[in-house]
Symmetry: D3
Subunit: 145 residues, 6 copies
Amino acid sequence: MSQKIRIGKIATLLAMLDENEYSSFESIFDEVDTCLGKVGSMNMQKVISAVETAVKRSGLIEEGVYRETHALYHTIVEALEGVTRGQLAIGETMRTVGLRFVVVRGEPYAEEKEGEWIAVAFYGTIGAPIRGLEHEAVGLGINHI
Amino acid sequence: MSQKIRIGKIATLLAMLDENEYSSFESIFDEVDTCLGKVGSMNMQKVISAVETAVKRSGLIEEGVYRETHALYHTIVEALEGVTRGQLAIGETMRTVGLRFVVVRGEPYAEEKEGEWIAVAFYGTIGAPIRGLEHEAVGLGINHI
Amino acid sequence: MSQKIRIGKIATLLAMLDENEYSSFESIFDEVDTCLGKVGSMNMQKVISAVETAVKRSGLIEEGVYRETHALYHTIVEALEGVTRGQLAIGETMRTVGLRFVVVRGEPYAEEKEGEWIAVAFYGTIGAPIRGLEHEAVGLGINHI
Amino acid sequence: MSQKIRIGKIATLLAMLDENEYSSFESIFDEVDTCLGKVGSMNMQKVISAVETAVKRSGLIEEGVYRETHALYHTIVEALEGVTRGQLAIGETMRTVGLRFVVVRGEPYAEEKEGEWIAVAFYGTIGAPIRGLEHEAVGLGINHI
Amino acid sequence: MSQKIRIGKIATLLAMLDENEYSSFESIFDEVDTCLGKVGSMNMQKVISAVETAVKRSGLIEEGVYRETHALYHTIVEALEGVTRGQLAIGETMRTVGLRFVVVRGEPYAEEKEGEWIAVAFYGTIGAPIRGLEHEAVGLGINHI
Amino acid sequence: MSQKIRIGKIATLLAMLDENEYSSFESIFDEVDTCLGKVGSMNMQKVISAVETAVKRSGLIEEGVYRETHALYHTIVEALEGVTRGQLAIGETMRTVGLRFVVVRGEPYAEEKEGEWIAVAFYGTIGAPIRGLEHEAVGLGINHI
Ligand SMILES: [Mg+2]
Ligand SMILES: [Mg+2]
Ligand SMILES: [Mg+2]
Ligand SMILES: [Mg+2]
Ligand SMILES: [Mg+2]
Ligand SMILES: [Mg+2]
C-alpha cells in the first residue's frame, strides 16, 4: 500500500500556515476537499461542536448519515488527544484553547479499494485562562470514512 | 506575553517538510537551535531513547544536567501522546511507528524573563506491523527548559 | 478457586435481554440479588447517581455503610470504562448515553471465604446528542463487597 | 436512524453464552457474519493478534485492504478498554486474561447508506497469573467498516 | 547527582502532619520556601485555582512570568493524578475532595546547575459528596522551575 | 462516619521517614498491622510482584483467598498511579523507579461495620535509567478488604 496523498500533512500544514506561506503548497491542497475554522474555548464540547458544525455546513460529510458523523467524531477526539496530551479535558483542568482547525477528506492510498479517509488537524495555543500565558499545541486524527 | 518565535510550528514543519519544501521557511528555521532524526520501532523505549541520544549528541541539551534531561523527557512524552492518541503504547497495542523527529530550543516569548523553551515534534506513520498498513501521525510537546 | 455463579454474565445478560428473552435464564437469575434501572444523560454524574440511588432504594447495599458504598462506586466506574472506552467522559466529549443498568450481588466462588461480590453492567447506546446518531455500548465492573 | 440489528448485543451474547444457551437466539445470529475464537495470555499483543488472525482466516474482512484492518484494529482496542477498565495493559500490570472473542459484521441500521459496521466482544476472566485468582470481564467495541 | 534536600518529602510531610507533629521536622522545613492552603470542592478547576492563587499571593512564583506559571500548573496536575488515581476528574465522576496542599520551592540537588525545583503535595480525603463517606488521598508532583 | 485511624497517613509516613524520624510516631504505628519492603526496577510487573510477595510472606493477607488478593492488587495499582502520574508504565516509557513500599491493614473508621481497610504507599525516586537523573515520587492507594 502506498500513500499518494498525505492528508494528515495537508491538514496540519493548512492549520499552521499563514496565508502568505500557502502559495508554495497550493498544488497539493487542491487534491483534496477541505474545511477550515477557528475556535477559542475552555469547553471541550464547544471545540468538538465547532468542528462538527463547520464540517456539516461545508458539505464535507453527509449530515444525516451517522456513519460519516461517527468517523468524524472519533477523528476529532484523536486530534484533541494531541492538543491535550494526557488528559482529554480543558476547562476541567483549568486550561483554555485558541485553535485553528482543518478537516481534509480524500483518498490517500493508491489502491482504489482503500477509499476515502478523513484527517482533522488542530493548531493553536493552550494555557491558563489569561491572555499570553499559553504555549503552542498541535493535534492530528486520521480515520477511514 | 507575546510569542515572537513559534518553536512548535518550526519543529512540526521541519518534521513534516521534504527538503525541497524547506526553502521558503529557512529564515524562521535560523532563529532557533534544532536537532533532527528518524526512528522506526514497535518499542516506545527505543523511540524515546532515539530522541534523547540525538539531542545529547547534538549538544542541544547539557548531558550531565538532570534539569535539562527532565525537561526533554516530559516534552518527548507529551509529543508521543499526540502520536499514540489515547494509549501511550505502541508494541503492547500491536502497532509500529516510523517517525521523523525534530527538537527545537529557543526563546519563543518577547519577554527576556520567559527564557528558553523546548519543542519536540514527531511526524510519520503508525499502524500494523506490516508495511503499508499504516496512516500518518503527528505529535508536539512544549516545555520550559 | 472455582466460580459457581457468574455474576458478571448474569448482570450483562439482564442488562441486554428483552423480557421475552429472559425465560430461558430465569433459574440462574434466581441465585443472586439484583437491582435494575435505566438512565439517559450527557452527564456522567447523573449516570453514577442513578445507579447509586437505585441500589440504595432496593436495599442491595446498606446505605449508611461506607464500605459498601465504596465497593459499589468503584464497580460503577469500572463498568463506565467499558461504556466510554478510553475517556471517562460523556458530555465533556459531546456524547450522550441511553443505558440500562443491572447490579448483581452474590457469592460467585465455591469457597465460603470468598464471600460476597458485586457486578455492575451497563447496556445501551452512546453517541451524538441527536436521536439515532448512536451505537451500542456495554460495560461491566466487578468488585468484592 | 433506527437499529434493526443489534450487532453489539449479538457479539456479546455469542461471547458469553454456552452452546446449550444458544438455541433461543439462533434466528438473530443468522442475520450477520460472525467469527469466534479464544485466547489466554498475559500479552496484550497476543490478544490483539489472535483476533486479527481469526478474522482474516475466516474471511470476515479483506486481508489486503488497510481500510478494513484499520476498522478492526480500533474496534478491538475499544473492546479491550472494557476488559482492562482504565489501564490498557495486562502483563505490564501483572494480570492475565482468558477470553472468548466474537467479531460480528453486519448492517445494524435500517438506512442503506449506513452500510456495514463491525462489533468485537470479549468475555472471560482477568486476574492474577494464578489459576482461579480472577474475576469476569467484558468488552465491546463498535465501528463503521 | 545527589539530592541534598528532599522537597517532595518536605511537601508531603507538611501536608500530612498536624501542628503538634511538626516540631521534629522544623529544621528541614526551614531549608526551603513553602506555601500552604486548604481546598474542598467537587470542581477540579477550583482545586487548581486554589493552589495557583495561594502560590501567587505568597510570592512563591513570579506572577507575570508564564515560565513559572507553566511549571506550577504541570506540577499541580501531576499531584492530582495521585489524588484521583486513574481519572483526572472529581465532580464529573461524582466525587468530592477535602485537601490540604503544600507547595515547596527549593534546590534539591547538590549541583548548582540543577537550580530550582518545585513540589506540590496534596493530602486529605476523597469520596462521595456525603460527609464521612470518604477515604484518604495523597498526591505529589515535582518539576524544574 | 469518622476516621479514628488514618491508615493512609501511617503508610505514607512509614514509607518516607528514616529510622531516626520514626520515634515520635511509634504510638500511631502500633495501632495497625504493617508490612515494609523495597523495590528497584524498570519493570512494573516486578514492582507489583514485590509488594504482593512481601505482603503474602508477612501474613498481612490470606494467601489462598482471592478476595484479599483482589483488594490488595487494586490498591497497589492505585498507588502506582500516583508514582507514575498519568501513564501507568515505567520501562515502556523509559523510566526506572527505586521505591520503598508500606502496606497497612487496619480499621480506620469508628463504626465497627466499616471493618478492615488496606493502604499501600510508595515513596522513592523515578527517573531516567541513569543514577541520579531522577526525582521523588509518592503514591497512595486505599481499599476495603
Ligand atoms: Mg488509526
Ligand atoms: Mg504545558
Ligand atoms: Mg478487579
Ligand atoms: Mg464510536
Ligand atoms: Mg518528572
Ligand atoms: Mg476509593
